[in-house]
Subunit: 250 residues, 4 copies
């Protein structure tokens, strides 16, 4: 079970920020820093938040770091293909064992999200700085807590259906865009002992991670997903040979 | 949509049958032949059933074969790791586009099933020739049609929980074993445009695929999953750039 | 199982049509007649379609009529409270036994839909003749078959979230409106042996049931839900006392 | 949101206990007292637990009591039909608004559980003092926390499939019985803003509520369901007329 203080690792690809002055203007210390700030703002002393980035050895996601992580948030885009498969496999294993994963925006196309979903996770898109409305469709869900019935993101990349994911275990938000498109923008999944939340707002050329309600959603999602590493289930990875029947275990 | 005649390819690993006289005694022409016979017995002129095996070029699952397949059934065990990743990728793509997949028994650990589920798909097991009872828990489901409330497989390998799969979209059968274990033995999933049915009875050292009700379930599952290849959805693989808003498509 | 010819009963409240000339101008023979025509148009000789209305004895839903009904479609609004509870109970029983139910538009607030859902089924609404876009979010679903990725209803009553229903077993359509609202407009449920489809387009003051794609959806939903009456499951209504263990039934 | 101290009301029918000396021998102060003790044992200072019974005015479930209840547990059997419909309606409303409900054993046939599920909730049964094995099928679920992979209830009434409920939002436990039957014994549902857990062990003629693991499950379920009363969602009961579009709410 999670420690009383939730240990959060915010992973940011941090490549757009190095190449593109427009992105750097919005996120001078990288998107990961802004995302981490938003989590700290809401969870306060209840969380210990660190960051990790693509350029670090093992992308900053060593065994040691993951050993101390209850929830991992993930933002990536242009570096998806270059993420080391061994790191992906390591994160996958941790999620199944109970580490939470909060996948943000273009992380829909990351290796780790695709590995967990089993589908293409592709979608419709348009970069036109459109108004996004985020509607609650599950008002009792912990990730929706404290949010209004609808909130507005003035400028966003459009993400639209069909979004090729397995049906979410719980659908929490649906967005509409100025262009008329709709999108399942907040989706909760359970895989193994782990909880996964996908939240779509967050394009790099708009100040979405400075938006108060977006920060609230991400903090809620971190708390919801933050079960933390569990004891491996008995059939994990290798299965369990049970030679003599149930009574052996009573 | 599926042709009026359903095109079924029964894939059998066919390795145990070559090595083990006990298996050959039960399945002299290979398990795949017996499985194919069971489907023909129930679907008759409504299906055209062929077989394919591990030892064939591309495991018998060339593009040409898959082009003519509405539903693929899969039985594998000791050869899982040696199945060519390119064939797995090809089958995965077809399933997302609408080809049905019926995964049988030890196929829980196949690459293709794991790729679609995103979890380990591991379970508890024991080879002790135990009595399995298969109970319907979804009497209105097409895969349960024509089956009694419960049927008995006199001797089976025990498969028990925890079975590490995403929650099935529809749970159709639960089994109990003499040793007291339980197992979600009939599970329906939807991924992309495809339908997947996992059915656990079927160990190679017992005549399970000669069992009349097991054959009925597999034929039902083939019919249920047999939507057949569909037009790719607009966001398939690459996503869809929609430059000017919804009205462009009206 | 359903007969090869699907027996469909289209239930229409037919009260607005009697009171309101504007409605009568759009639906001179009643909305039920137009809905029935749309189903016949798509299912042709595959269906035998009749209608029934509020003013008939037992609202036209006698035991005899239901005995010959594989799928019932339901449109009601101002008469909800006056629908006889015995008829509601009768329809409820039939749905659990396998009769399909297609609930249209304001039927969200009908007694029968609420009885099956267990929640308030209430929603946000506005009558302002807004443009509704209906998006497919489940392209492989039978009810989405033959439909474009999105279709436009030029003028509709707005229905918006939060829609207080249990999470649908399958979500097929999401709509957006000119006002920015979103709505889960096509929802599939399974209860007992029956299939239920809720489809929200259809206000009485707009010619929605003349709309070609709306008619396609309703016909698809009728076909999907049309399993037809089944043998009662062994535990229906009273439960089943099983005095001596599973072997009694083998 | 729930107070930091969870307010739990344990409702017991308390009729068997008055009539049947065998039941009284096991539960001298009523089953509700034993159930309440088990919850206190596990939740300690984290919960304030009271009881209410059938014979009290309004069955002990007045508005005042429900105003101070975050989670209600329900055990009933021979008095189901005599429970006042107004109390059922009141409890139903509270659940939709966020009060948790933990339905125990024969509460499957209670008015309130049926009202929330929309199905018959009937099942197969036998009173033969059989051994029940309760298996975890969802090891990461909060209600499974601290439990072994399987636990044994030496003597229980058999409850078997088909259990006529909507597919649970999360299936947590499956039981097997000496007679070979299986049962979905731990089922989680969400309705409105409320959480509902059904747990089947608990016949009145066996000391099931003295069983340490059964008590652990019930305490876990109470904690999981204990969101507590929430602000009504905007469309509760009457729907929400939104005259001028989403922007009115921004």
């Amino acid at each position: 079970m999670a420690e009383s203080v939730l240990r959060v690792t915010v992973w940011g690809e941090n490549l757009h920020e190095q190449r593109d002055a427009a992105v750097r203007a919005i996120y001078p210390d990288g998107m990961h820093t802004t995302i981490a700030e938003g989590i700290r703002e809401h969870l306060g002393a209840g969380a210990r938040v660190r960051t990790a980035t693509f350029d670090q050895p093992e992308h900053g996601l060593t065994r040691e770091v993951l050993d101390e992580t209850d929830v991992l948030t993930w933002w990536g885009h242009i570096g998806h293909d270059r993420v080391d498969d061994r790191v992906v496999e390591r994160v996958h294993e941790r999620v199944l064992l109970g580490m939470g994963l909060v996948a943000l925006h273009s992380a829909h196309a990351s290796k780790i999200f695709g590995r967990l979903m089993g589908t293409t996770c592709m979608l419709r898109w348009r970069e036109a700085g459109e108004r996004e409305l985020v509607w609650k469709v599950n008002p009792g869900h912990p990730v929706a807590r404290g949010l209004p019935d609808v909130f507005v993101i003035p400028e966003q990349e459009m993400y639209g259906e069909y979004f090729d994911i397995p049906q979410p275990d719980e659908l929490v938000f649906i967005s509409s865009f100025s262009g008329g498109e709709v999108f399942r923008s907040g989706c909760a999944f359970r895989r193994g002992q782990g909880r996964i939340f996908y939240f779509s707002p967050g394009h790099e050329t708009h100040p979405v991670y400075h938006h108060p309600q977006v920060r609230q959603v991400i903090a809620n999602a971190v708390r919801w997903a933050g079960v933390g590493p569990q004891r491996p289930y008995p059939t994990f990875r290798t299965g369990l040979h049970s030679p003599t029947g149930w009574f052996e275990r009573s």
